[in-house]
Amino acid sequence: MTPGFADPVADAQSCFRAVLEAMSRPGRVQSVRGVTAPAPLCDAAAAVLLTLVDHETPLWLDPAAEAARPWIAFHTGAPTDGASFAMALSLPDLDTLPTGTDEMPETSATVILQVTSLTTGPAYILDGPGLREPATLHVTGLPGDFASIWQRNHALFPRGIDLILCAGNTLTALPRSVSVKEA
């Protein structure tokens, strides 16, 4: 068991700001600090969990990340009966996660996905709100047919899943409003 944020208030605020920036400028890579993650999570994923997840937000945890469960349970107190958030090491089947309703789209799940890299790998062209011009994002660790999986999710708007991609101590986000094409 390792501690959470070194400075719980300031680090959580700076991580929240990083997630906010990432959501409002999809694909722009942000960095976070202040936490030493338990294996097998990366620092950014652990920081996002500490920042966004608490006893009011049920968390689905990837069975592959089971080793981190005691740490997550201790520091967040998140229940496991549902999925406001999903912490995944590989992209889960988005159809099994809540996408919200037209009246309450905010009840959908946010997937925190740990990937290998946000600077190398296949390029994706992002377009949508928050982007003056289409942006390019390189990600290693997404499934080969990610663009078509994402377009199905994007088509559900205003319903749909939001995705936070984490690698090392960096993160970026793909809100449901953004469209993704392979470059």
């Binding site: 068991m1 390792t2 501690p3 959470g4 719980p8 201790f74 520091h75």
Partner: protein, 149 residues
Amino acid sequence: MDNPRSARQRWMSVLARAETDRLRALLEDQAPLPEYTVLRGPEAGLVMVRGRAGGGGAAFNLGEMTVTRCTVRTETGLIGHAYVQGRDEKRAELAALTDALMLDPGRTDALERQVITPLECQQEQRKEERAAKAAATRVQFLAMQTMRT
């Protein structure tokens, strides 16, 4: 105290009521204390205290209470928790450390004899003194009722 959970509950409750200076003094005699890292806190928060009318009625919210909690891990990997009344962070930290040390089989007996039991005796004694003072002002309604008839 056969059940390990109730044994731990007992010493945690004694530690939660211990005074900072007294606990610190008692722990100094237990040197050398292991190094430890703080996993969480010490942080103050509010806890809703609930009660039952007459001890058996429906639960109601009595009021909120300030509580400081702390969790530490010793270098040997033992994890101790403490929740203490008030805002004294050092008190919560010392109580959490003592809880972790109590989980070390090599230390349990010495700590039980030299820390937990003295604290418990002192707390019992205070409780009795307070109860005796209160008892002195007790009004015997039963006697008044008997007088009337």
